[in-house]
């Protein structure tokens, strides 16, 4: 408790607090504007965080993403356009509530359940992460190798796309991670004689290219006209919420717990948590027939779960350096740029930073309530920003943001190249999260694999000899078998290919 209070003093420094509040407002804007995803918003934030100290940088990313996940519910309820994919599961339900004149209740339930779900997720993070870190202090390179590989394999398995395409996206990310000087021999790999590539592919332009350029291209070419937004009354937003939350309190607790666990699975972020808990809440509901008619129970459950998932994703990210979703992958990239490698040792050597992350999470989820209320009231103005103006401005921000990380024009070329590649891949059904996870986890896997191979004189048996390493290895093989089975099934049913 004392440690948390000490960390709170760090977080509540005026400069850090100002950055967190600024990031919160930015996150609300990103989430409330249809077409801008939480991942894209986080990627756009990276060039700014590059210039900040680690704690304000983490604060900015955590707060902006938590706000964006909640704010994605606003256009979903108002216009039936989810602001972020994490809100898609219950957009129809919330929009039907609007048509019944219950827009304020839908938004109020979204707001308070998001905050509560987020706080339950933080509790899981605060209790779970240090325990797992303590347990994993004895891990050797074998365990780390399997853990990272298992994480990547799960990311492919749950990517909701063809396993073959997920595997190829992952391989592409792993290949990009090999560019530059290798960890064992110190020799250049795939640098084409280009000096900037010796240090490897810079993460910032890749992130911007992957998550922003493709979306900008799509929106510039095909702007979606947004319908008019109704006015919202503050009093009506708060009234009735407490009663609804009390009525479905067990569902909130269950969904938040499940959301946090799903968030902790690599590749399965807030959107999957939202879909799974919505389906589960319907299964356990006393009135499942009312789902789909503007019934708040599903919204209560899923909106708590998607914010809980966000916190849960930080458990493997902080403990093992293995990102639970794309947002934590970005955060790990930022930490690595600042010379901090997440892992169990962080809980021993850098407890101040870990505690500060916990405090930031608590603060971010508490800020959802006052700032979220303001965001809902201001939503009409925010959504009135025309897309033909917004996307050119974001494009300029991307170009300068990519340049700013290394003051190098080369990074703009990287951004454009990766952006066009990611656009083409997405249009053809390739999931992008495995690619970014591959890029970020590639060096970790390679380093641990090479260390293990050197220790074992090139034999594979020692990879399975230690109990935890062996268990993780077998689990990885099971996940691979599941992927192969899924690919074969798709092939048999004819859903693999197409033109």
């Amino acid at each position: 408790m004392d440690q948390l209070l000490t960390a709170a003093v760090t977080v509540f420094q005026p400069g850090t607090l100002a950055i967190i509040i600024g990031a919160a407002i930015y996150g609300l804007l990103i989430g409330a504007i249809p077409g801008l995803t939480a991942t894209m918003g986080t990627a756009l934030l990276v060039p700014i965080t590059f210039f900040l100290d680690p704690i304000p940088a983490i604060g900015a990313i955590v707060t902006a993403s938590a706000m964006a996940i909640f704010a994605g519910d606003i256009p979903g309820a108002m216009m039936r356009i989810p602001g972020t994919p994490a809100s898609a599961a219950y957009t129809d339900e919330a929009y039907k509530m609007r048509k019944q004149g219950k827009l304020e209740l839908a938004l109020g339930v979204n707001l308070f359940c998001s905050a509560l779900g987020g706080l339950i997720g933080v509790a899981v993070l605060i209790i779970g992460a240090p325990q797992i870190a303590r347990f994993s202090l004895g891990f050797s390179s074998y365990e780390y190798f399997w853990l990272a590989l298992l994480g990547l394999s799960c990311a492919v398995l749950v990517s909701n796309a063809s396993p073959v395409k997920g595997l190829l996206a992952l391989a592409l990310g792993l290949f990009l991670s090999t560019i530059g000087i290798d960890v064992v021999m110190g020799s250049r790999r795939f640098t084409f004689g280009e000096t900037p590539l010796i240090a490897g592919i810079s993460i910032i332009p890749v992130l911007i290219g992957m998550f922003a350029i493709g979306e900008i291209l799509r929106r510039m070419a095909d702007p979606v006209p947004l319908p008019a937004v109704p006015p919202v009354r503050l009093g009506a937003m708060i009234r009735g919420v407490g009663q609804a939350m009390w009525r479905w309190r067990i569902g909130i607790a269950r969904s938040s717990g499940i959301g946090a666990v799903i968030g902790a699975l690599p590749g399965a972020g807030a959107d999957i948590a939202s879909w799974v808990t919505y389906a589960l809440s319907k299964k356990f509901s006393r009135e499942p027939q009312r789902y789909g008619t503007g019934y708040p129970e599903g919204i209560v459950n899923a909106s708590a779960a998607n914010n809980a998932a966000l916190s849960g994703a930080y458990v493997p990210a902080l403990v093992f350096g293995i990102p639970g979703d794309t947002i934590t992958a970005i955060l790990i990239g930022v930490l690595m740029m600042k010379g901090i490698t997440p892992g169990p040792m962080v809980f021993v050597t850098n407890t101040g930073m870990v505690d500060a992350v916990f405090v930031i999470f608590i603060l971010a989820n508490l800020l959802i309530i006052p700032l979220g209320l303001m965001a809902v009231l201001a939503a009409r103005r925010v959504m009135a920003v025309p897309q033909p103006v917004m996307f050119p401005a974001i494009l300029l921000f991307c170009v300068i943001g990519a340049f700013a990380s290394n003051n190098a024009v080369f990074d703009i070329w990287i951004m454009l190249g990766v952006g066009l590649l990611a656009f083409l891949l997405e249009e053809n059904g390739f999931p992008l999260p495995p690619m970014i996870l591959g890029l970020i986890l590639g060096p970790l896997i390679e380093e641990n694999m090479m260390q293990s191979l050197i220790k074992s004189n090139g034999t594979l048996l020692p990879f399975f000899e230690r109990p935890i390493a062996g268990t993780l290895g077998v689990l990885t093989l099971i996940v691979w078998s599941a992927m192969a089975w899924s690919a074969l099934r798709r092939r048999r049913t004819g859903t693999e290919a197409g033109a």
Partner: protein, 157 residues
């Protein structure tokens, strides 16, 4: 652009072969097969298997549709023009940014791009200037990023 999986699988297969060939030429630790190329070789093998599977499954559907097709929203002339302008914007800044400089190049490019997307010249002029100034202020003044002055550098210094 939607491509047949055979084409995409073929691309990955060729890429995997190239990565594998490069990896085999990389130095190894003396007396072992382990070296700088070990990990890229494994990645190439995964990519080759995935590419081959995708290619084979795409070949089964080759007769059912075109090998490449534009998405309906991208097939319209205006949409293609706006998408092209987006790419051109980035290309122009990468090619000319250092020579012409941010203060002269970016406002002109922003105004042109906004004119294309909004169709309102006066509004584009005002917003283009304001957005460029805002980005300059944030990056050059607050974050101290040395944005290129280009031609203006000769006048100032």
């Amino acid at each position: 652009m939607k491509l047949n999986d055979a084409l995409l699988g073929g691309f990955f297969l060729v890429l995997a072969l190239w990565i594998g060939a490069e990896a085999l030429t990389m130095p190894r630790m003396s007396g072992t097969v382990i070296g700088a190329g070990t990990f890229p070789l494994i990645v190439a093998a995964i990519m080759a298997v995935g590419g081959a599977v995708l290619m084979v499954s795409g070949l089964r559907y080759l007769a059912d549709g075109p090998i490449a097709a534009l998405q309906p929203w991208l097939a319209q002339r205006d949409a293609l023009r706006r998408a092209g302008a987006t790419i051109l914007f980035v290309l122009l800044y990468a090619l000319l940014g250092q020579t012409i400089g941010f203060p002269l190049l970016v406002p002109a490019m922003m105004v042109a791009l906004l004119w294309l997307t909004t169709g309102r010249p006066l509004l584009s002029l005002i917003l283009g200037g304001a957005i460029s100034a805002g980005v300059w202020l944030l990056f050059a003044r607050i974050l101290m990023v040395p944005l290129p002055l280009g031609l203006l550098a000769r006048l100032i210094y």
